[in-house]
């Protein structure tokens, strides 16, 4: 059969044409690789044309795309390949006994080659672009995430500073500490408060701690529970916790939450608390006696 006889010549001529042009992917991969590619396409032609199929051609082009597209196979190289394949095939048909039917079959196969190769190159570039776009998107998201992490770290640091300065412990007399609280007392802040109060008791050997809640608009059930625990811990250290400045809202909350404040003294004002604290120390606030020389 014509194809069997002409296939080696077609492969040789195709390989020569592919390798001949400088600055192409075919020149870059070298002559032996060009010969292998040409043999593969020639083999596909022998397999497909007699049966009117294109499966061998499709496989050959797929393999070529897989191997060469990452190395720079572009539109111009593909066109070079397909033009060369057609040219060497036409040259071969000119020298062989070749009927119209065979001619049409080869032309159809070459045409399918153009369609398949173009489609595969387009698909490859489309996938590349999608991959690049996805990579860009991931990079942008990672960059945003980094910015958010920095912002979160800064916010956390500021919150720590705010917590530290918003829980002052003021010694107002030997053995008496005042802890004025301002702002919402949530579970986290209540935990910090307990820790700081207990440390202060140990450090100052305080006996009475006045916890002023007049600057606290509201607190939740967990914070109330923490206050009760703080009271117990304070007692274990031999001191007494006195709650002062309870607002009506906090009083309502304590009742609604059914928090048991048994064992913790509560007073309406800091002034009353101060009086009680001093009396526990057998002290009181009184007028200064006029000096005898006035």
């Amino acid at each position: 059969m014509w194809l069997e006889r002409s296939a080696p010549a077609i492969a040789d001529a195709l390989a020569t044409k592919l390798y001949a042009r400088p600055h192409t992917v075919f020149r870059m991969i070298g002559e032996p690789a060009c010969q292998a590619l040409a043999r593969e396409l020639s083999r596909a032609m022998r397999a497909d044309v007699p049966s009117g199929q294109t499966s061998a051609l499709r496989d050959a082009l797929t393999e070529m795309m897989r191997a060469l597209a990452p190395k720079g196979l572009g539109f111009s190289a593909l066109r070079q390949l397909l033009q060369a394949l057609r040219a060497v095939t036409i040259d071969a048909t000119a020298t062989a006994e070749f009927g119209n039917a065979s001619h049409r079959a080869v032309e159809s196969w070459l045409y399918q080659g153009v369609m398949l190769a173009s489609m595969q190159l387009y698909a490859y570039h489309e996938a590349q672009m999608q991959e690049q776009a996805a990579r860009l998107e991931v990079n942008q998201l990672e960059s945003q995430l980094d910015d958010l992490k920095v912002a979160l770290d800064e916010k956390t640091r500021l919150l720590d500073v705010i917590r530290a300065v918003s829980t002052p412990i003021v010694p107002i007399h030997d053995g008496v500490l005042v802890v004025p609280l301002i702002g919402v007392l949530d579970h986290e802040r209540a935990t910090l408060l307990t820790e700081r109060v207990l440390k202060a008791i140990v450090a100052t050997t305080a006996q009475v701690i006045l916890l002023d809640l007049s600057g606290v608009p509201v607190f939740d059930a967990q914070a109330a529970e923490m206050l009760v625990r703080t009271g117990r811990a304070v007692r274990l250290l031999g001191a007494e916790l006195i709650l002062v400045g309870l607002s009506s809202a906090i009083a309502r909350t304590i009742v609604e939450l059914d928090v048991d404040l048994a064992g913790i003294t509560t007073l309406s004002t800091l002034q009353a608390g101060l009086g009680l604290a001093l009396s526990r120390r057998e002290l009181r606030i009184g007028p200064i006696e006029p000096s005898p020389d006035r």
Binding site: R21, H23, M28, G72, G74, F75, S76
Partner: protein, 172 residues
Amino acid sequence: MRTHEGEGRYNGAALNSFLLGLGHSDALVKKVLNDAGVDTIDPGRWYEINWAIGIYFAIAEQIGRAAIIAVGKKMIETAPFPPIDRNIKSLLMSLDAAYRLNAEGPNIGGITTEFHDDTSATSVWTSMGPCPLNIGIIQGCCSKLGIHAIVEHAPGECMDKGGASCTYHISF
């Protein structure tokens, strides 16, 4: 960036047309020029070639490949260019002359273009300037004649990566 060794100089008109092609990026242009020690580019004078090409690369680094290609496409409209023939082959062949209208000196490189048939060519550039700008200039030339060309960088060396030349396959 490839640098020129010698007494090369570059046309301010070409550099200015490139800056004008950036369009809305006034702040960027101002920053790059300030970094280079000038306020504006005088289209009527010539500049030391490495300094001028440095402007191209400084902007390319800031705005990226796609934007540089876009600017290159516009340069045929504004940069000094030989009389334009209505023939794509003549136009592509005149790129070397256009380059020499804008760059002078020994060993400044050049542009050679070889045609394979009526619809494809290979162009080898050893000129100074960023690679994506060259792609944009070729595309701009083709667009001038209403042709949408595919310009592909050939495998192998690239001047932006230290190579001696850039080769482009042009299909139109």
